[in-house]
Symmetry: C2
Subunit: 233 residues, 2 copies
């Protein structure tokens, strides 16, 4: 998993995948929350299978899943027991126009437009934008006394895991952001429940305007004069 | 299959499904090309599993598949080996909001709107409209000397299988309709290749305006004076 969204950690696929290949192993990379927002080089990093989504850093509607395989992965193909994900049938559908399913033309057109927008911005500029807005957020959070869960250098630009300060009712803060500012941020999962907030800055939502709005909204929620219910007694 | 679109035949599910139930068999009905355009009574006809699509007689975009099961079918549920179609996981997703997949909200909103339009028209009025336009087409075709493949009483209202007259280059006629009138009709499949045209009148396309347009377009294509290439030497 390149973007580990439960912790906000960027896994170094560029370092890990070539090690797997050296040992003859195939790799499969989940790039769901990174594709379009963090550098990803499927060929250069020796990734054998990679999949993502359309609704996060690409900014298209949800409903489709880009997927790609290396020739090494394709050579080791086994008979598929699922009609839905039979690569041979999907291959015939896309390349030879043999009927497999009725695709959602609406979603394909939307993805096409989203990819055109990515092209207009330029992929490297898009990565740089995600990086810039991540740093702007981290800097602003530090001014509010808030720190990040992952150490410097291991942080995702697309999903920002922020430590909840002691004595704060984190669910009340999230509710306040949603009710007052129409901003939804995520809660911590599993062992991190109640301990972090998870702030997505993906695709169009990775913008200075939204970073500033979130920082102001958090400031208002955490201000002792106004926070009332959010600071636990 | 309720609507057998390769032949234009309506299968009498209301008669067949109860026979299956009498013998203790479960039934699964494909209502892909009938749901919303032909009467369908899943409960009343003792159907155990039924699925359809959104892009035909419901008139929504493609990409979703309505599916329903009887309690008898659910009692005989077996462990599912597909994550994609694991009914228990889908059940938990829809009813308990446990994560299974990211659904396409775009398509769900579109389906919701399409269903509102069905409600406004009324389901029985919608069926009656499909029936009426089917009969208008059959009558108009007869005036052009064209006849239907299925016998009277076994014909779908949603997919009309029309016999190609002898000596007509049916592919040239279809190309003419598409090029000149932006009307796409289907070709025959398998043993019916070259022998029938398949005319869909589903959802919004089941309209008097489109029936008349098709009849005029066919008339022009088949007219000896103008047909030139369409009548084989």
């Amino acid at each position: 998993m390149q973007a580990e969204t439960s912790t906000g950690v960027l896994n170094p696929i560029d370092a890990l995948a070539p090690i797997a290949r050296e040992h003859g192993a195939l790799t499969i990379v989940d790039a769901v929350s990174s594709f379009g927002g963090q550098p990803l080089d499927v060929g250069g990093w020796a990734i054998d299978a990679c999949y993502s989504c359309t609704q996060k850093c690409l900014g298209a509607p949800s409903g489709l899943s880009p997927v790609v395989f290396s020739s090494r992965a394709l050579e080791r193909r086994v008979k598929c027991r699922s009609f839905y994900f039979d690569l041979q049938l999907l291959d015939d559908f896309w390349l030879k126009r043999k009927y497999h399913h009725t695709m959602s033309s609406t979603l394909v057109y939307a993805l096409y437009e989203a990819l055109a927008i990515v092209e207009e911005e330029g992929l490297e500029s898009r990565w740089a934008r995600h990086e810039r807005n991540h740093h702007a957020l981290v800097t602003g959070l530090a001014e509010l006394g808030l720190s990040m869960l992952p150490p410097h250098g291991e942080r995702l630009w697309t999903l920002n895991a922020v430590r909840v300060p002691d004595g704060i009712d984190e669910a009340a803060v999230r509710r306040h952001l949603l009710d007052e500012y129409n901003i939804e941020i995520g809660a911590g999962l599993g062992p991190l429940t109640g301990k972090i907030w998870r702030v997505g800055l993906m695709g169009a939502s990775s913008s200075p305007r939204l970073v500033l709005l979130l920082l102001e909204a958090l400031k208002s929620a955490l201000s002792p004069a106004r926070a009332g219910p959010y600071v636990r007694a």
